[in-house]
Every structure is written in C-alpha cells, then in structure tokens.
Amino acid sequence: MSKQEKNIWEKLENLPREFLYGLLLIAFIVPMINPMGLPLPVTPEVKKWYDTIEALPSGAAIIIDQGYSGGGEPECGPFAVAVYHHIFRKGGLRVIGVATTQEGPLLWDKAMAEVNPEKYGRKYGVDYIMLGYFAGVETAMAALGKDLRALTSTDYKGASLDQYPVMQGIKGATTVNLLICYTTGGDQSEGWVRQWYTPYKTPYLCNVLALMMPTMLPYMKAGQIVSLTSGAQAGQMESLVKVPARGIAGADVMTFTEILVSAFVVVGNIAYFGRRASKKKA
C-alpha cells in the first residue's frame, strides 16, 4: 500500500506502540510527581480484614503465607506491609510466617526490612518468626495443618524452634487463630481453602492479584474466606492503618492510567469505524 493511500483513519488505527507506551508512561509519571490525592473509598472487604485483625484476642497466633513471587511483589507487597504494620502495632499477636513459594523467605526479609517490627518493640522469635519454604504447595499445606513440627523443627535460618517463645504451644491448624495468605498463585489461594478451611474451619484472609479476583470470589461468597482483597487495594489498607506508603501513592496512578487505557479503547474503535466509513465512500 503506497503512502498516499493511507488516510488519517488508518494512521490512527495503527498508532506506533512507542507512542502509546509513551503516553502510558506519562500517565504514570505525572501523578507520581504531582500527587493530587483523588478520593479513595475503602471497600467493605478491606474494612472487614482490618476488623478481623482488630478483633483478635491477645496471644492469638496468626499463620501467614508469604506466598507471592518476586515478580508479584510490587502488587502484593504493599498490602502485606500495611497489614504487618497493623499487626505489630496492635501487639500481643504471634506471627508465624511460612512460604509456599521458594522466593517467599527472601521476600519476607524484604517486607520485614520495610516494616521494621523493632520500631513497635516486637522481636524475632518472641512476636514473629519465619519457618521457611515448604515445597509441594497443597501437600505442604495439609502437612502444616496436621502437625507443622513434623514438617520442620527449625526456622528458615536453621535454628531450632524450641528456643523461640513464639512457637510455644503451636502445633498445627487447631492451635492457630487466623490464616493469612498473600499470593500471586491460584494454587496457593485455593489450596488453603481446601487444606485448612475445609477440615479445620480456620478463619482465612486472602490477598491476591486483581486479575485473580473473579476466580476467587465464589469462595468468599460461600463463606470460606472471611475477606478477599487484591493487591490493588493496598492504598485502602494503608489509609485504615494510617501508614501511608506505596499503596496510597498508587491510587492516583490507577485512576490516570485506567482512564487513559479506556481512551485507547474508544479511540481505537473510532478509528476502526472511521476507516470503514471512509472506505465505503470511496
């Protein structure tokens, strides 16, 4: 096709991707430099999550699956960090970290560096602990539920569990008051329902990628998950916990970019129909 034949519609229909990506980058950068604090409503699920932790009695044990991969950290991380802030500030809670992804322990360190539990006076081994990575996803979950000490006798650095007061009396699912899972994988988010909620009825909070929400919603509807949230809701949790960080800053960006991409769809369609109309005339 010669260049003269290409009319404006066709050009519009085939905008170079560099141009589109450039626009998208601008939509990211402008609100980042210039935060405008657009309204951010707190959804009932996030509120429920917050209330569930708030309602835990002193001495309650929470098992947390640091089940996301390194690639998913930017989405799952901020929410997890906000929740850790909440747990450590509230105090009197015991956090037992496990990981169903191999990168989990490394990402746990990353999250802890960000939260800094010492700031709230919480100590490793007394208030929180990381048991390490367990291979086999659902098999590991089932084994953890039955008797986690049969699965491991050390924490992720290889130190014996008996020396840590936080592990006192913790055996399996029956000695745990709450289960939290942050994950980028459907095997994890659904696995905990099957291996923990179904047999032990442990209250379960689950945080997944936004794109996994439709698949996971039925579980919450059936009451198997107390509160299901997505990483994109981190800003809401941060505003509840009052530790503004990555999540709140990201909310403006979401508004900007989502509207821009909606505009992409609209312009793309206008171009498509414009070209069809001009072809008919010719």
Partner: protein, 245 residues
C-alpha cells in the same frame, strides 16, 4: 531518605535501577542493553535455581536419608539415571525416572481435578436458588448463571457435531457470547494488576534511586544511551561497527 547508607545497599539500588530501566526498554524496541540485561537475568536465574535445587535435594532427600529412610537411596539412583540420556546406548534408562514423575503428576491431577474442578463446581451450581429468593434480581442472576454454565459445558461437546447445528446452534452461541464477556472482563481486569506493578517499579526508581547522589545526572545519560541503542545502525549519528546477529 537522607540517612547515610552503606555501600552495599547503594550499589544494590544502582544495579537494580539500571536493570529496571534496561528491562523496560524492550517494550519500546529491542536493543543491546536489553540483550545484556536478558543474559544477566538468565544466568542469575539459572544460578538461583541450582542453589534452590540443591537445597531441595538436601531438605527432601538427604535429610530423610540420614534419618534412616533407606528408600531414599532409590530416588538418588533415579536422579542419576536421568543423566543416562547423554549416553548413546543406554539413554532409554532415563525414561524410568521420567515415567515416575509423570505418574505422580497424573495421579495428582486426576484426584484434584475430579473433586475441585468437577464435583465441587456442579455442587455449587446446584445449590444456587432460583425460587424462594426474596430479591428477584438475585433469582434472575442465578438463573442466568446456571444457563451459562450449562451452555458452556454443552459447547465443548466434540464428537456429536449434529448437536451444534440448526436450532440447537443457539446454545453454542450463548456459550460463545458469555465466554467473550468473561474474557473481556479478565483481560481488562488484568491491566489493574499490572498498573500496580509498574507503579511499584517506577516508585522504586523515584524514591530510592533518584535521591542517591549522582542518580539525577545518570538518568539522562542512561536514557540517551538507550535511545541511541534502539536506533537502527544506519540512522545512528555516530557509526559503530557492531553487527546484530
């Protein structure tokens, strides 16, 4: 971020920042910086996997063995047999460990799919209430839900081509339309996840890298070099004797 940081964290942030920029550059156009980052990544990932693999072998193989589960000798033998593939004559032995792995996989797949993806799905469909719900909208939604599920299952029938023709074609049509709606939903929803991820990376650059001394100067240099690398060789202002391929 004015806290003085040790050299290790500073270099770590610099490296991470550069790799972030180079990895993004591919979305615009392929270039040598991306190629460099790609090879670093593949090498690092391979090393990481070896480390984790050795850890797995020790944790799940060596420890039980030292605790007296002699059966684990067999699995070590099988593991070594995998490498018989490199032998010209006895390469077929490597099929035994592979067959064992496939067998475990098939068993796991059958037992979990039949319950969670088949029975449980039927179960939660049949418990949906169409009558006796106070809210007529919910009743209607549930009815639509059930119809769509049935139509989609029907759509996948392969060996009775007759049932997709004539008046019955409407069922496949409903199935196709609702699948398209589902795909449209998930596709667009997927973008939200990625926005938070891209934001995470850009935020890292903005709030961790740029405040470091020198970063503000380095950023334009890095970007100019990138754009230069993206230009086709003949368009470059300054000729360079690199050949691609």
């Amino acid at each position: 971020m004015a806290i003085a940081m040790d050299l290790a964290s500073v270099t770590s942030i610099w490296l991470a920042a550069l790799f972030t920029i180079w990895a993004y550059s591919y979305t615009f156009r392929d270039n040598v910086w991306f190629k460099f980052a790609e090879h670093i990544y593949v090498g690092a990932a391979a090393g990481n996997l070896i480390v984790l693999g050795i850890d797995n072998v020790i944790r799940y193989g060596w420890l039980p063995l030292t605790k007296g589960s002699m059966l684990y000798i067999v699995v070590f033998l099988l593991g070594i047999l995998l490498y018989s593939r490199y032998h010209g004559k006895y390469f077929w032995i490597s099929r035994f460990p592979l067959a064992l792995m496939v067998g475990i996989g098939i068993g796991l797949s059958m037992r979990s799919t039949v319950t969670s993806e088949f029975i449980a799905q039927i179960q939660s469909t049949v418990t949906m209430k169409v009558l006796g719900v106070a809210d007529p909208w919910t009743a209607f939604s549930n009815l639509v839900f059930i119809i769509i599920t049935l139509c989609v299952v029907y759509f996948f029938v392969f060996t009775f081509p007759g049932i997709h023709k004539g008046n019955l074609g409407i069922i496949s049509k409903i199935a196709r339309y609702s699948m398209m709606a589902a795909f449209g939903y998930s596709f667009a929803n997927g973008f939200l996840s990625r926005v938070t991820m891209i934001f995470g990376r850009l935020d890292f650059l903005k709030s961790q890298w740029l405040p470091l001394p020198g970063a503000m100067v380095a950023l334009p240099i890095v970007l100019v070099l990138l754009v230069y690398a993206m230009l086709p060789a003949e368009k470059r202002p300054w000729p360079k004797p690199t050949k691609s391929k």
